[in-house]
Symmetry: C2
């Protein structure tokens, strides 16, 4: 259970009504923002405190890990320079009826502010540059106490039971359906291209044939029966150009559970062939799905082309804030 | 490596040109046909001898297990009473230029004919009632010898290397895409229904919510993290009515590899909760995907509704000829 502070000034209404956090992946100038990177470290059950207009206005329980999703339509022109694709976390929010202004409690809070990435300035104003940041436990407990006994108890519970945790992300499915429909109605494509692109989304057809020329077994489980292998994109189908969607070097053959873990960023591979596990991944579950979780797994060499697509995967899909990734 | 004889009189041209075997699942009167049931036992790499018009005309190497697929369009009116959905096996065929008529070799072949499900009558005529039947090894070797040294050598090899084995069945993907398109253009459905039906195909949305009210973990691997579980249909989405596609009792929560094995008929469950492995499943691969392959696994109780949908799965999806299933 971790604690997060989110500055939602511009988009508070939309995010609370829609039940999510959303951030771009990069600043509009193309550089990384640690407060967007933190999105990658949220886990279902984490507690989120919402700050807007100088007040703590809601608390929320994360219902998913971060996943790629388009900028919500309801943002309208707000943030129109952002990348169209960012990180989304599903959240169940509860608005707080009482007025809680941290600026009025700075004697209590000031000693608890972290040295780095603090959500509040020492004078009690919110830090403008922050979207999402982690709260150290003592600060989180102090803020929770201000919000009332329910939130105080919630913050101190071992884990938050949320019966409707659902991290399969219909937003992602609907977005991919939208992309597929666009391909199907694209008159500039031949029937053959259209079919190859649609099949590639499911790891089939021409894309799979090309991957099979380079790969022969699941690099993680060792399964080599073609009937149990999927051609998985390193740069996801949804993010890729048509050419990249069909490029054999953009693929690995993986069993379905490994394909899922890779697609959703719970695992990735270093250029030297080492398997990396995300810090938000639940290791016992990974173990039950056939991932070796004790010690380093060397999955073998990658070609230069594969390494290029894997770099995208580590950068834009893997669930670990890049500042911490080694 | 197993040997199969197929009587393709009516559909020889289409099946050889298209590279497949196809049979209905049931006779037109709704009863089982052992020669259709045999389709469920074919494995990639098996050798198939094609018989049509009193001649052995081609041999083929199976490239897939059996999978559900619609009756090929190119059959036209042939077999128009058949179920629209049958079993399909992908096959790479090689036509035989020499004329080989088994009837001319009955002195050699007659003692090798099996007592049951024999492809030839003792007088050398083909048995009209047969579609697919298994050849005992001595008979298969004798027939292969008649077809020439290449086939003779092939039949005696330990396993047949077929670089393009591809058992992910684009036919199935395209068929599901077709069904989805029909749903999306069905003006009798509301937008909400349409979205629920499309999401259900990926184990998401309303269907998943309903399954989650009944199931909490993968019955095979024990994984209980919702982010790693799919809502899998017992009666497949592609075979189901709209109501059945959204019925919670038609679903199990399974990790992606188990979902795949279940969807493709490599595993199923008995009404008493015992896990069954298909005889055509490759046990070491199943083990690597987290399936316990030694001894019986009891996966717990099923409701009456779940048992009804599981019966469909054992009957129409599981890859084991029903005569042999206990």
């Amino acid at each position: 259970l971790r604690f997060w502070w989110v500055n939602q000034n511009q988009t508070y209404r939309q995010e609370v009504a829609g039940g999510y956090l959303w951030s771009p992946k990069l600043r509009s100038n193309g550089t990384r923002n640690p407060f967007y990177e933190f999105m990658r470290e949220v886990s279902p059950g984490d507690l989120v405190l919402s700050f807007a207009d100088t007040r703590l206005r809601a608390f929320g329980i994360a219902r998913s890990h971060a996943y790629e999703a388009p900028k919500p339509l309801e943002f309208g022109t707000v943030g129109r320079n952002w990348d169209a694709i960012g990180w989304r976390v599903d959240v169940r929010y509860h608005e707080i009826p009482t007025v809680v202004r941290p600026v009025e409690w700075m004697e209590l809070l000031r000693p608890l502010l972290p040295a780095r990435y603090s959500p509040l300035l020492p004078d009690g104003r919110g830090s403008q540059s922050i979207y999402l940041t982690e709260l150290p436990r003592p600060l989180a407990f102090a803020l929770a106490d201000l919000l009332g006994p329910e939130v105080a108890a919630l913050a101190r519970s071992e884990s938050i039971a949320e019966p409707e945790l659902e991290a399969q992300n219909p937003e992602l499915v609907l977005w991919e359906e939208h992309l597929r429909q666009r391909i199907e109605s694209d008159a500039t494509l031949t029937d053959t291209d259209r079919q190859a692109l649609v099949l590639a989304r499911r790891g089939q057809g021409l894309f799979r044939q090309r991957v099979q020329q380079l790969e022969s077994r699941c690099r993680v489980t060792g399964v080599d029966r073609p009937e149990h292998l999927r051609a998985s994109h390193c740069k996801p189908w949804r993010d890729a150009t048509h050419d990249e969607r069909l490029d054999g070097e953009n693929g690995l053959l993986l069993t379905p559970s490994i394909d899922h873990l890779f697609d959703r960023g719970f695992i990735t591979f270093r250029p030297d062939g080492r398997l990396l596990l995300s810090p938000v991944a639940h290791r016992p579950s990974l173990h039950r799905m056939g991932v070796p979780v004790d010690g380093d797994l060397d999955v073998g060499n990658f070609s230069a082309g594969q390494r290029r697509f894997l770099e995208f995967h580590r950068d834009k899909v893997f669930l670990q804030a890049q500042a911490r990734a080694s």
